[in-house]
């Protein structure tokens, strides 16, 4: 993949696929890039579609932070590009379940 190519999407596109896995709305969570240390809400990642999956790259350095692929029976999730994921637990962060 030529990382100079304009990303087709952003992290908002990750919301649906990640909603199969996470019990909270994780696109509002903040991931820290293992490469450059930039902290970004997942909604702001540069996202490329590589069927059957999606690749989310750091807006700071283009390092791959998230890879998610769906097969008929499994979700493959690679978060190894992030050194931490901070998940807000207030209603404003979008994480509250509202129950």
């Amino acid at each position: 993949m030529d990382v100079q190519t304009e990303a087709a999407y952003d992290g908002n596109t990750l919301a649906g696929p990640l909603s199969e896995v996470f019990a909270i709305e994780v696109t509002t969570a903040v991931g820290r890039c293992r490469g450059c240390g930039t902290s970004s809400q997942l909604a702001t990642l540069r996202v490329y579609s590589l069927e059957p999956g999606l690749v989310g790259r750091c807006p700071g350095c283009d390092e791959v932070l998230v890879r998610i692929a769906r097969t008929p029976h499994d979700v493959w999730l690679d978060l190894s590009g992030m050194s931490a994921l901070r998940i807000g637990m207030t209603s404003d962060s979008g994480a509250e379940t509202g129950q």
């Binding site: 304009e6 087709a8 952003d10 019990a23 509002t28």
Partner: protein, 254 residues
């Protein structure tokens, strides 16, 4: 549903639900609004998405994410789909789908590019092409009632590309605190004083809010458009944390 509709909209770990297409309206020659009945739909926030999945007779599946275009009416939701060249999902939804067709949906999803009616600060909406869809959901949710004043700058190639044209004109006249400006990049209607051209810093100064008012800015459109507008807003002094963006590919969300 016992849950409040809005907070229910943030519940996640979504499963695919069956949905039935109940209505379609052509918005422009290449964009179509589809109304879907979704049993058990939990409600949603303005700006959230729904994923739509089609299954071919041979079992092949394709899914795409679309912005919800309007508040839910009970279990009825609306999306507006722009046809994309060679788009396998959008070409079906815009061209072939008919009332009674079954699809599957997953959602609502997304929690970042959202506006809540209890947010009372000024809002700047900047749309490029079909990027107007989630912003229209915000305008419809606000519905002339909320305290927050809204300004929409809507960049389109020409008059024929304006989605929601009739309703936007009506709302500009009727909704208190809503101002709408169209920016034409290639063809302008007769009498349009602004020369055609891409959105500029002058447009954001003339038709947006001053940065000192600290508006929340929602920018949605093709990737290049979103990059340009968000960089201009930052140059004008808007805080990056007040700028929310949603990008779709060079030719539209598919």
């Amino acid at each position: 549903m016992a849950r409040a509709a809005v907070s229910g909209g943030l519940r996640v770990r979504r499963a695919w639900r069956p949905a039935v297409l109940v209505e379609r309206r052509l918005e422009t020659p290449s964009a179509c609004t589809l109304a879907l009945d979704v049993p058990g739909w939990p409600g949603h926030l303005a700006g959230q998405h729904v994923d739509v999945r089609l299954t071919a007779p041979d079992g092949y599946q394709a899914a795409r994410s679309y912005s919800l275009a309007a508040p839910a009416h009970d279990e009825r939701i609306e999306i507006t789909v722009q046809a994309v060249p060679d788009g396998e999902v959008s070409s079906y939804l815009v061209g072939d789908a008919t009332s009674g067709d079954s699809v599957e949906v997953r959602g609502p999803v997304g929690g970042w590019f959202v506006w809540r009616p209890e947010d009372t600060g000024p809002v700047l909406l900047v749309a490029g092409g079909s990027g107007v869809v989630p912003l229209m959901a915000m305008i419809r949710t606000r519905n002339g009632m909320a305290a927050a004043p809204f300004r929409l700058i809507y960049s389109v190639r020409g008059p024929d590309d304006r989605i929601y044209d009739h309703e936007l004109r009506r709302r500009a006249a009727e909704d208190a605190g809503l101002e709408i400006t169209a920016v034409y990049t290639r063809t302008a209607p007769d009498g349009e004083p602004r020369p055609t051209g891409r959105i500029s810093i002058d447009d954001l100064v003339s038709y947006g809010w001053p940065a000192e008012l600290e508006p929340t800015c929602y920018v949605c459109g093709p990737t290049g458009f979103v990059e340009t507008v968000s960089n201009l807003l930052i140059f004008l002094g808007h805080d990056a944390s007040k700028i929310r963006t949603e990008r779709f590919g060079p030719s539209g969300p598919e």
